[in-house]
């Protein structure tokens, strides 16, 4: 049984409090009643707490349950719900032109970005070190325009080997 440690004690044995409540509310089997009553006879702290808890019924009977609000309440609440739904729909309709415009802007920007990226990829190719070079750049750097560097190091040393640093 897990209990909130913040609950202050009633003075009764903590393991018995739930059973003492059942005893007061009458939700207990005959054998349990006998066991609890035997405990109450031998435990003055539980007996005192039980007496206090039982007496509270005399005070609590003064209070009355909240009365039914009547048959009109459901009707009134439905009218309130319909009004709230209408207000919400109206609020949405005020903002809807702006929302749709924002979506159109977003869609146009998306298409434009996609076009730019597609154009860029088709016009450039990627070298091993990740930079983009156009075919014309290749011709200026290497004597053999058909030469393709196999890796990054090869790419860096090849001009020096072929031209000794001179064009």
């Amino acid at each position: 049984m897990t209990l909130d440690p913040m609950i202050e004690t009633s003075g009764a044995c903590p393991d018995f409090e739930a059973r003492l409540y059942d005893r007061i509310s009458g939700e207990m089997s005959a054998s349990d009643i006998t066991a609890v009553d035997a405990h109450l006879k031998n435990c003055p702290a539980c007996a005192a707490a039980f007496e206090r808890a039982t007496f509270s019924a005399r005070l609590l009977r003064i209070a009355e349950p909240t009365p039914d609000p009547g048959p009109g309440f459901a009707h009134l609440t439905m009218a309130h719900i319909r009004q709230a739904q209408r207000d919400l729909a109206e609020e949405r309709s005020i903002w809807s032109p702006f929302v749709s415009l924002a979506w159109k802007f977003a869609a146009t920007a998306g298409v434009a970005l996609a076009l730019v990226l597609t154009f860029d990829i088709s016009q450039h190719r990627t070298t091993v070190d990740g930079t983009y070079l156009s075919p014309s750049d290749d011709a200026g750097l290497f004597s053999d325009v058909n030469y393709k560097s196999s890796d990054r190091d090869d790419f860096l040393v090849s001009p020096a080997d072929e031209n000794h640093g001179k064009r």
Partner: protein, 225 residues
């Protein structure tokens, strides 16, 4: 009347309770399903069936009659809006009560209000009258006396921690079961029982202390005099 053997009648009467409950649950299940498909009349019927308990629940927590109706309407609006998401795995009432409890906490937090508080302490006369009501075999029948006794009890409850007041009101006055309270407050059933036992013991303790201080005051005056 036909001569029905006693044991058969007893069995029938014992069986009638679960059968009635099952029928009620079926009707409610159907109402929820119809309301989920947009039938407003079905939702209105659900409100009608649960309005008193939701009123009791909200009143038990807020204890401010002026605001109760607004909060209850807000509860049903929230239920209406989120009804399509309710999968009927738990009872509709359990779901409804949880929404009601959350709405009450939200209300108290947003408005930064505490449940009803009485600033003035009970006078000696008032304590004596409350003692008279508590000692009598029956609560007073006169409406004005009953109203006064209720007011005095409210003031007595005010001396208890807020959670104690709410639990006592919901269980002992509004008639919610321990199981319902455990579900709506996300607590263990035993924890609810222990809290209720302690709250009840504490209420009597507050009352007895008030009585004792009331009876000891004249002696103090005499000594001073």
């Amino acid at each position: 009347m036909p001569d029905v053997p006693k044991n058969v009648a007893a069995t029938a009467s014992a069986l009638s309770i679960p059968v009635a409950r099952s029928e009620k649950a079926d009707i409610e299940h159907d109402l929820v399903r119809r309301a989920q498909s947009g039938e407003e009349a079905a939702f209105e019927e659900l409100i009608r069936r649960h309005q008193q308990r939701v009123f009791g629940l909200v009143n038990g927590i807020l204890r401010r009659r002026d605001d109760v109706e607004d909060v209850v309407q807000q509860v049903f609006l929230k239920v209406f809006v989120s009804l399509k998401r309710f999968d009927q795995r738990s009872a509709f009432s359990t779901w409804l009560y949880k929404i009601s409890v959350n709405e009450c906490w939200d209300y108290l937090r947003k408005r930064k209000v505490r449940p009803l508080t009485y600033e003035a302490d009970l006078s000696e006369d008032q304590v004596s009258r409350l003692d008279g009501v508590a000692s009598a075999d029956k609560p007073p029948e006169d409406p004005s006396q009953r109203a006064e006794a209720r007011d005095l009890l409210e003031r007595m409850l005010e001396r208890l921690p807020e959670e104690d007041q709410q639990l006592l009101m919901l269980k002992e006055v509004e008639g919610f079961s321990v199981q319902e309270l455990a579900e709506m407050l996300n607590l263990n059933v035993n924890t609810v029982k222990v809290r209720l036992f302690r709250s009840r013991a504490r209420l009597t303790e507050v009352y007895k202390r008030k009585l004792e201080s009331n009876t000891s005051q004249p002696n103090t005056r005499e000594k001073r005099g």
